[in-house]
């Protein structure tokens, strides 16, 4: 007996994918969203691990997925294939969406989001961005990740329009679609803004444009200033925001009129949320109805209810000013953001060390990684793994050969001599 179905949906920003996502929510299924074009073998791993009752995706990919199922139905370029899974317990009644946390690096740990999480975060976002049904957002990020999904949900929440797009901002197709469809907004990660800077975005003629948002990592303050100035000159609104997949998407934002005076801040808590600091560690703690139910590491976790009770430890160290605006100072754990991808540095080091059979240390330097390695002949293998496993372009890191990695007194790898700050 299938007590409550779960589904695995992958693809890109296409109307079929969006329709399947919305239909799954409407019928009360729990749906895994996965940008499978990035890594099909990993999608297969997830399917094997979590045993969804049905799988949907572009037909060309679905055909390649192992264990594809008996019943198939076609929806233009997408197909759905179903089977009956027998489970010991029902999938948790409020589980709506499951998202990966680490981009394409291949950790099968998923974030469990409830129907209430999606609804409350969409409502908060549409409130602080002041959205109404005349908005026309062009998609710049796959909706299979939390930021892209939040754009979709917050706009549908107010019956606004979406211009479904898969082109990068460096293509003519993107800007033609933008102008032709009179887009009113777009979302960008730091790398999007770096590209737009090089493309002299401030000089573009975009009469339909109203606002733009930035999230997905820290944007260099000089770029924040550039885009804040450009927006002010054009009468657009520019929002710098902060969040985590673990909080559905958004945690805080800077109101656009305060962007000049709160430079470098992650802003204040979103409507219906609260931010505070752990008095001992200064860790940023978020409380709100959009905090996930918890993680999933196996099928059994789909039966679990809410384990966090609306409280999320962000893992970021922060400070707070007199207006209750927060400033992130660093991280408790070692993650880096490279081209918008969240990279777990411990995981990366472990993987590469195993691969090359010698020691390696990785640190973040500006927006790039520096990999310190000790065996000259490993360089090629490192480059190969960085590309094939971690999908990090070689302009996102540099290799540095050293004689020996520094050690702390306890024998652990000590990174401080390199860290600089």
């Amino acid at each position: 007996m299938t007590l409550r179905p779960s589904a695995f949906l992958f693809g890109s920003n296409q109307v079929e994918a969006l329709a399947i996502y919305l239909a799954a929510l409407r019928t009360g299924h729990a749906v895994f969203l996965y940008d499978a074009a990035a890594n099909l073998p990993f999608a297969e791993q997830l399917i094997e691990l979590y045993r969804p009752d049905w799988i949907a995706g572009p037909t060309v990919y679905l055909d390649q997925i192992k264990g594809a199922m008996d019943e198939v139905c076609h929806l233009t370029e997408y197909s759905l294939s179903g089977r009956t899974i027998v489970r010991e317990h029902p999938v948790y009644h409020d589980l709506a969406v499951l998202l990966t946390t680490s981009g394409t690096t291949g950790s099968p740990k998923l974030v469990r989001l409830s129907y209430d999480n999606l609804q409350t975060n969409a409502s908060s976002i549409s409130q602080y961005l002041n959205l109404n049904d005349s908005e026309r957002a062009i998609t710049t990020l796959p909706f299979f990740y939390s930021y892209g999904l939040s754009v979709v949900n917050s706009h549908l929440n107010v019956r606004a329009s979406l211009i479904l797009n898969n082109h990068s901002v460096v293509t003519r197709d993107f800007w033609e679609l933008f102008k032709q469809q009179e887009a009113t907004s777009f979302a960008g990660v730091p790398y999007t803004y770096q590209m737009l800077k090089r493309m002299k975005f401030a000089q573009m003629d975009l009469p339909s444009m109203r606002y733009m948002t930035q999230a997905g990592g820290r944007l260099d303050p000089s770029l924040v200033a550039d885009f804040a100035n450009a927006a002010a000159g054009k009468g657009w609104r520019f929002y710098v925001m902060y969040g985590q997949t673990e909080a559905t998407a958004r945690i805080s934002y800077i109101p656009s009129e305060l962007i000049q005076s709160k430079m470098g801040s992650i802003g204040k808590a979103i409507p219906d949320g609260e931010l505070d600091l752990d008095p001992e560690t200064q860790e940023l703690i978020y409380k709100g109805p959009n905090v996930m139910l918890g993680y999933a590491k196996s099928e059994e976790d789909l039966f679990q209810g809410d384990l966090l009770n609306g409280v999320l430890r962000t893992g970021d160290i922060a400070s707070k000013d007199v207006d209750a605006f927060f400033y992130v100072k660093g991280r408790l754990k070692r993650f880096a953001k490279i081209f918008g991808l969240r990279v777990n540095l411990d995981e990366l080091e472990q993987h590469l060390e195993q691969e090359i059979g010698s020691e390696l240390s990785c640190i973040e330097e500006g927006e790039r990684l520096v990999l310190y390695y000790t065996t000259a002949e490993s360089a090629e293998a490192i480059r190969e793994r960085m590309s094939s496993v971690f999908h990090i372009h070689h302009s996102g890191y540099r290799l540095e050969l050293i004689d020996e990695l520094p050690r702390t007194a306890s024998g652990k790898k000590g990174l401080s001599p390199f860290a600089g700050a």
């Binding site: 990068s168 901002v169 460096v170 293509t171 003519r172 800007w175 790398y191 770096q194 590209m195 090089r198 493309m199 002299k200 000089q203 573009m204 081209f339 480059r383 590309s387 372009h393 070689h394 302009s395 996102g396």
Partner: protein
């Protein structure tokens, strides 16, 4: 001469063998040429040929052949 130089830049940035580069090699036709490497490519071309490529040309540089056409406008001879 300049063609070889440009081919070398493409091979280096996209991490593909020079033999794979022809005029018909287009943006997004191989996984190595995505928007991230496109911007790296523009930066490497600007460095290599001492140019400052315009936005319209950044957008239009959709193939190796097109890159040569665009660079010709900046006075690079092929």
């Amino acid at each position: 001469m300049n063609e070889q130089k440009l081919r070398h830049i493409f091979a280096e940035v996209l991490e593909i063998p020079e033999s794979q580069i022809s005029d018909e090699l287009t943006y997004n036709s191989i996984p190595q040429w995505d928007s991230i490497s496109h911007m790296a490519l523009i930066a490497a071309i600007d460095d290599g040929f001492d140019t400052m490529i315009d936005t319209d040309d950044v957008i239009d540089m959709s193939s190796f052949g097109k890159a040569k056409e665009i660079l010709a406008k900046y006075g690079v001879e092929f």
